[in-house]
Symmetry: C2
Subunit: 743 residues, 2 copies
């Protein structure tokens, strides 16, 4: 029923598109880039019917009316983050919205606003030279970097397109000659290096030039935008679609930058489809545009926040404008997948064209709006899909989903971190085992101009800032991005079904002579309140190394079974380099026995239980050493340290109990899992036992050989023989029916 209604909504939505513009062909009428007159009319008629549309329109109106009520300002260019910089950014946003509002409402005040501002730019722009403040990059003229200029132009041509018919011929000629043509020309000629880049900056450049080409009828620019300045396909939009995404749609820089790349991607795609549908842009590379959107929204945590992979904030989410745009366009262009309405729910807004109308209508008419619940999923990395990937195991639904993410893909260009086999855990509505994110207070001018802080390189990118093993206190590839770019993780297997899910991957070559394999399982046992993470991290070497196995948690340490020696009167840094110089050593312990450590985060307790090994150190640390300007957050970590050649770190992370301070309720502050024991491990397999309260037991068997879900395995450790089929098996898990689970 709901599906039918959604289908119908889309048909009606697309109906607007089709009648209004899609079949009219390139260069016959305006607006032609993002919205047609017919779509605008359909939106006008829909006002008052669909809450999401009304909310969006109401908000846009408030913003544009505010802009209209203040004196217009088109100042001379200024420095990054300064007033002029921010003013020009605000100006393009205002023009973009005012242009769309003019189409929708027909109110000439909006058109006049766009015209007057464009005329002000037309008066200034011809006098401008290259911006003097650019550093090591192609300058813009309005902005210090060309990127901002491209973003300005993408939005401004949409506004120009929206009032095109309303302008006089003289006005059009003046605006095109004074701003649009010279700016596009600057980007494609003087900015050729950036324009031809296979990078998110390059997408903005080709979108700006290509969209301008459509509006002012300059097919040469469209051609260069699609195929690069040499027009041979070595650069340009198609090359970007080929090389920046894996065949699954995973974006090379990770989701934080994907949200920024999707923005020009879908603006330009819409412009192409509306002007030259014969290019078949939405079908290109097996619908790579669709996959790019799905890969972005399907990597999110249950609250819509992107996992902070590589340089990223901890809070960027699906409300980002590029993701709203992409979600709406993909919904309308690819058959109206109801699952996307869960994303729309998190977004709470739509775009202002036929696609947005279709989404608002489907959302309003859906019998029940689904929560955003994605299944467990793996994405390959690299343009050929052969450079490892990223895996997400999920259990539960909606915001209460548990997510375990492992990163075993490529380095991810300039924003990449040295974090192969890093994992994160989202549980109970929080990022529980965390990535630090970037060291940057974005746009906070007094904090280093809002740019990346020095500690982004000295801490946030380093291996120890992540939840993955560090060898000899040295980051992977000695933190050399050139070497890191030549390598990638390797997937071993991924199985996202059933009460026991597992994924496994390898990272070889990241330290000379040390190979690594990590297998993460997510187990739902009916005797436990929440899904539990089992982590088998195997390091293999011919020589002895120091292996540090850290997890970064938040909240309050509650209990541990080891005898902590705390540094109560003096703190010293944990090390000298590779991020260790930024960690205060708060406490340490030495043990030959199993390690248990419980902390409290939000409303749940978490216990990390690590299998015993002789002469193991436990270290509690806190970020903040060697940070004279208070650029880092003072967050804790715990690490387990061993000196060994080959070693298997086997551990379980168990969420348990409930704490509510205001209600003064605490339940099950003690873990149910009592011990983790390594039965044995070698090149063929690892076998680990987990024992719970009352004596129940899981036997976990994982092959360390090649991916083969069919193969039969037999290994013998300490006189016991273990036999299973496939990449892994777990015995002893209680499922609802009471039976055990086998792979």
């Amino acid at each position: 029923m709901m599906y039918y209604m959604i289908r119908r909504a889309i048909q009606i939505g697309l109906c607007g598109l089709v009648v209004g513009g899609l079949e009219a062909g390139y260069a016959q009428q305006h607006p032609r880039l993002f919205i047609t007159a017919a779509e605008a009319a359909a939106i006008r008629q829909a006002i008052g019917h669909y809450a999401l549309l009304d909310t969006t329109l109401g908000q846009v109106r408030v913003e544009v009316e505010a802009a209209l009520s203040h004196p217009m300002d088109v100042p001379p260019p200024g420095e990054a983050g300064g007033y002029a910089h921010e003013r020009h950014k605000q100006n393009y946003r205002d023009m973009y919205k005012a242009g769309l509002l003019f189409q929708i409402t027909g109110d000439a005040r909006y058109a006049r606003f766009v015209r007057d501002m464009l005329m002000a730019y037309a008066a200034m722009y011809p006098e401008l030279g290259p911006h003097p403040r650019s550093e090591r990059q192609v300058p813009g003229k309005l902005f210090h970097q060309l990127l901002n200029e491209c973003v300005w132009l993408v939005h401004t041509v949409i506004a120009y397109d929206a009032i095109y018919n309303w302008l006089s011929e003289e006005e059009r000629a003046h605006i095109e000659t004074s701003v649009l043509r010279p700016m596009a020309s600057w980007i494609v000629n003087e900015g050729a290096r950036e324009f031809d880049k296979i990078h998110n900056h390059g997408i903005w450049a080709v979108a700006a030039v290509g969209m301008t080409g459509y509006v002012i009828e300059e097919p040469e620019w469209v051609e260069k935008a699609l195929y690069g300045t040499k027009k041979d396909g070595s650069a340009g939009f198609f090359a970007q679609l080929d090389q920046l995404f894996s065949p699954d749609g995973y974006y090379v820089e990770g989701p934080y930058y994907a949200r920024y790349a999707l923005w020009p991607l879908f603006f330009f795609a819409e412009a192409i489809e509306r002007n030259e549908p014969e290019r078949g842009i939405y079908a290109y590379r097996d619908s790579i545009l669709k996959k790019a959107l799905y890969a972005t929204v399907q990597t999110t945590f249950p609250d819509g926040v992107f996992p902070p992979i590589n340089d990223a904030s901890l809070t960027m989410n699906v409300k980002a404008p590029g993701v709203v745009l992409g979600t709406n366009v993909v919904f309308a262009r690819y058959g109206g997948d109801a699952a996307l309405l869960g994303v729309v729910r998190e977004q709470g807004q739509v775009i202002l064209n036929g696609a947005g109308l279709a989404v608002a209508k489907a959302y309003a008419e859906a019998a029940a709006v689904p929560q955003m619940t994605w299944p467990s999923i793996e994405f390959t990395d690299g343009a050929d899909g052969k450079r490892g990937g990223i895996g997400l195991l999920r259990a539960g639904t909606g915001r209460q989903q548990t997510v375990v993410l492992m990163k075993y893909g490529a380095h991810g260009m300039g924003h990449g971190h040295f974090d192969k086999l890093h994992f994160m855990l989202y549980d109970g509505g929080r990022q529980v085992i965390r990535d630090y994110g970037f060291a940057r207070f974005i746009n906070v001018e007094p904090k280093y101009g809002g740019r990346y802080l020095p500690e982004n390189n000295s801490y946030a990118k380093q291996t120890i800032a992540h939840n993955t093993v560090v060898v000899d206190e040295i980051s992977q590839n000695r933190a050399d991005p050139k070497i890191a770019e030549t390598l990638s993780g390797e997937r071993h297997f991924f199985d996202g079904k059933g009460p026991v899910q597992a994924m496994s991957a390898r990272a070889n070559g990241y330290w000379p002579g040390v190979n690594m394999q990590r297998t993460l399982l997510l187990i739902e046992d009916s005797r436990l309140d929440y899904p539990v993470v089992v982590d088998l991290y195997r390091v293999v070497s011919d020589s002895t190394h120091q292996y540090d196995y850290p997890i970064h948690f938040l909240g309050q340490p509650i209990w541990t079974n080891v005898r902590l020696q705390s540094y109560t009167e003096q703190l010293r840094p944990l090390g000298a380099d590779y991020g260790y110089q930024h960690i205060w050593k708060e406490a340490q312990a030495r043990t030959d026995s199993v390690i248990q450590f419980t902390w409290l985060d939000g409303h749940r307790y978490y216990t990390w239980t690590v299998a015993a090994a002789p002469a193991t150190q436990v270290i509690l640390g806190r970020i903040g050493a060697n940070d004279p300007h208070f650029n880092l957050r003072r967050e804790p970590l715990i690490l387990v340290r061993r000196w060994a050649k080959t070693h298997l770190f086997a551990s379980v992370i168990e969420p348990h109990g409930y704490f509510h301070e205001a209600r003064e309720v605490s339940l099950q502050a003690r873990p149910q899992i009592k011990t983790v024991r390594v039965v044995g491990h070698n090149e063929a397999a690892s076998v680990v036992e987990v024992v719970g309260k009352g004596g129940w037991r899981w036997t976990i068997m994982v092959t360390n050989g090649p991916d083969n879900p069919e193969a039969r395995h037999t290994v013998t450790f300490g006189g016991r023989t273990f036999t299973w089929t496939g990449n892994y098996a777990v015995e002893g898990v209680a499922v609802a029916s009471g039976s055990s689970f086998h792979d």
Copy 2:
């Protein structure tokens, strides 16, 4: 209109009370303690009409049905926080709710549940001796401390009363003889010391015995409950009402413990009023019960959380059961003040009797439910109202209110902190300048059994844990509660009206030879986005002391104008005792100039601007030193240190700008206020200037003499003469109309 409807709702609600029981007199029918048959019938008829009632009933039903579906368990007594302890607590909650549900629904399953459980207790209780695990206190039999026994009995007699008529005479005799009588007798006889205490434990004791007295018709117990075991009024309920509350209703231990004291207070008051209306309990001491409730809810922050005064959690709020009970009863018994519906909104539930019905009805029928917005308000402290007090200046409405709180009352008994003239700032929906709260993980068994941690004494109670000046690194009264109990702060003046509000208080005798006065102003200037706090903290001595002037903030340091010397390679504690041993010294600076320090908390920036004084030190610290068991939270503080005889710390806390990480927006990260300058100060007055961006200027004049809103003052500092009328005046504040404000 709304008022009319509320009045009507109350009349209807109370109508139920009156018909059902109020005029029936003591000892004629059951239930008679908390609900009557008529009230229960009215609730039954109201089902489906009032959302709050339906929500509450739905929740209670779910809980009771869950209890009914599990095997009943009445285990032998166990240790605090252990299974048996928690089981007996859950049992009384279940009986209480099942009893009320039986009255409302007539469903005998609920009555049977209560009876069966009471019979199980009747079978066990006679065999029990005093609990062996009591430490330094009167034991219970079911529980290690008598307090829990009293709480158990208060709830259980309500349940017993609810099924009284349904029980056979034999069952009643057995339950009364085996449990209710011996337990009440134990409390009033063996527990006489606790019973006669003027303390929240004493309220629970008299409520338990008095309510049992009404149900089983033992007027002697009622008499002792009201007047103490000696029946001379030296103890008992009336003495508690006289001595535990100031004439304004402020509870001696502060709001965190008030929420716990209100619970038996209103249970017992209802029982008295329903059985002996001639006692006039609700009129007693000029309606002290009403004032007690108002003083509790009117001290809350805008999100309904109690300011953590003395030992308190940071999250306890108006949803606490005693506050829900008190709010409902006061609403129904004192004329249905619509402002209380704002509290009810935060609570989201009602109690299950006629008062709760009246609230649910009024809430449903109110034309608009008000936000909980309290005015600026001062409460006196001490039974005579002459032991200082607590002041709250407020600006704005609802959750976006800004609140400045100053504490200048009495010590507050065993849970008191050494924190005279301490202040807190709530702004932008957060506790921005904070109190640490208690050092306790309440009910978290692995954290010291959930009890107060040793660091509660060594850190949380100490002066440096608060936002008030510390002299010579020694806490007030050398942290001796016996001395502290003999002293109190003194109010100077309080003015909570207008765009400039102010309060002033003194603390003398807290250090030998050092007197203190703090004046806090909350200024709304139309040139600034948010209300600003001005703090004039004057310390007076004949000899030189070290004065530390700290504020405890949260979030990230963003900028300072002083040259910080950060301890990058080593941290040491800031001091040796009085809480200083728990603070790591992270950075320091020395300056003769004005100090500015900006941090980011939530979506706002905050800048502290402190007037210049020669050879001033600035120290950034972080809690966590000498904390081997990780019992303290690692939170930051900043302090300004001076060596002087008499000194005026003059500073401004300015909230400014906006930051939203996910939206990547940062506005006005720099403060508008440029400097604070002390023009002069002496025994008569203090004069301070605050200068803003662009040169605007406030002149702040405060008298240091006695409270007199009429007196005319003239002082001369540095050749300039300042004249004003009243306790204080501020010149130069821009208000909406553009004119300045005068007191």
